[in-house]
Subunit: 174 residues, 2 copies
């Protein structure tokens, strides 16, 4: 059993002064750490009834992809605006200053399909909430949400109260 | 055996008029197609001697990640400028108009490590050549390169003559 917490590096003052950034690249390059994270997700979701896994650009792709492969599910890419070539649904979300959006192909989810949403980290939760709305707009159902890291002090999870949420690693203090 | 070619959609006039974009999202959402692509990569690289797999942002992450998991290797993220939080190597490459760059953490590769580079598609080859240089600048060795799709008519592979390159799907005509 690997202590995945020890494989995550906190980089001070990124992306701006005063912010400590949780850098997962030190975990990913460690083959045992990477296996452990994917296996832990797979174990958590093994009894869930679902069809596909969606990942949010760009770090979310890393975990969603390996997990979809491991669990033999289809993979859906939820991307930044302008990246997906065919017809998309778009969903805005608020940032500290201003707004951003995520997009998903209209044909990514069939009505009634059950989707697990994966991201590396939940901070304020805006992106993942928008991702869930995209899935619901397409007629899908969010079967569960998984994060490797939850920054509990930012209370992003409060935005996701109606969902079944799993956080592998809970960071309690700022 | 799945015909992965049939699962890839060509979207006309994206990102600009006259360009046909090879859309892999239709393949990824098909669980059998996705398994087939990763298993085919794994079969190709199974006798290669290497330590880690690197993927180029963002679609490259999808294939590199699942393959690294499947083959029990470490995963390296090669990203657009400004995305990686710790100290990086940076490598510019030329575009049709202007230039862009890719970055990799300085500690992603140990001297002497052997790396397989994965990307979804090779067009003109500039990005992947820059990715290989990053690995070599860090003291690593490129053990092999894998693409799901090669646009042969763009001759990007000519930039990679010194490497062992594998293309799963060769598109011959424009």
């Amino acid at each position: 059993m690997i202590d995945i917490r020890k494989l995550i590096r906190i980089v001070p003052d990124f992306p701006k002064p005063g912010i400590g950034f949780f850098d997962i690249t030190t975990l990913l390059k460690d083959k045992q750490g990477f296996q452990e994270v994917i296996d832990t997700f797979a174990n958590h979701f093994k009894d869930f009834d679902f069809d596909k896994i969606s990942g949010v650009e760009a770090r979310g792709f890393v975990f969603a992809s390996a997990l979809a492969y491991k669990m033999n599910k289809g993979l859906i890419l939820i991307r930044k605006p302008g990246k997906l070539p065919a017809e998309t649904f778009s969903q805005e979300y608020e940032l500290e200053y201003g707004a951003d959006a995520v997009e998903m192909h209209k044909d990514a989810v069939e009505p009634g399909e059950k989707i697990v949403v994966i991201d590396d980290l939940i901070a304020t939760g805006g992106t993942v909430k928008a991702a869930c709305r995209l899935i619901e707009n397409a007629g899908g159902e969010v079967a569960g949400i998984g994060f490797m890291i939850e920054l509990c002090f930012l209370k992003g999870i409060d935005k996701l109260k109606k969902y079944n949420v799993y956080s592998m690693l809970k960071i309690e203090d700022d």
